[in-house]
Amino acid sequence: MSFGRELLNLFRTTSLERDIDDEIRFHLEERIHQNRAQHMAPEEAARLAHDQFGSVERVKVGMRAARVPRKSTLAAISAAVLVCSLSLHQWIATGRVYELREGITAPVPILAPAPHYTDAARLAKVHGVVRR
């Protein structure tokens, strides 16, 4: 299973489940139709179709299992989400520090990264201008 397909499957579990139901329903209806064409009574045609197919739940389990992403894929996705969360957290925190340092609240977006005021002298100068 390719990584892209596994990733896709994670986000379409509902449609996968619907597809599985539709496919099994079609199969059973088709078999019943074939059995009816051989002059079977409706109940007998349905019973035979279900007997030949076996346990629907067992088949569904097998079909779902074929679509489940590998553990290594899930681990890679979890690691990527963790890294993104940490990066975003750091970005937001930096923005808040800048906001406090400048003493300005309204026009500064909270999620903006800090500007490059890195040296202490420049920071003091900017701070002084704002206070005056």
């Binding site: 496919e23 079609f26 199969h27 088709e30 078999r31 030949q52 097998g62 079909m63 074929a66 679509r67």
Partner: protein, 109 residues
């Protein structure tokens, strides 16, 4: 190769070979065609067929699409891919080697 692997390979081989001419078939028709082609000798267990079809699609050996069946009902049709054709060639080679080995033993026994 262990026995379960070989059995799994059998189903894959039958399905891929059935679809190899390029026809797109739904699961029901695939089971019927295997039954017909084997002159009623083989009947694929229907409950095992669908998980196998999904597994082979996830392996990119098959591709599927939903379309209307002959009875105008919505059905999932499977067709073989280029990777599937390569796979069927590989499995056929394995099977031929396996059958030849068994035949050699049978002739000598």
């Amino acid at each position: 190769m262990s026995k379960p692997d070989k059995l799994l390979g059998t189903l894959d081989l039958l399905v891929l070979r059935t679809l190899a001419p390029g026809d797109a078939l739904h699961g029901c028709a695939i089971a019927d065609r295997i039954h017909d082609m084997s002159q009623d000798a083989l009947r694929v267990e229907e409950g095992s067929l669908y998980p196998a079809l999904h597994r082979m699609e996830e392996s990119s050996w098959l591709a599927s699409e939903w379309r209307a069946s002959a009875n105008n009902r919505r059905a999932r049709y499977y067709r073989i891919t280029a990777a599937g054709k390569r796979r069927v060639t590989a499995i056929e080679r394995e099977w031929t080697a396996h059958v030849s080995a068994v035949m050699r033993v049978l002739r000598l026994a």
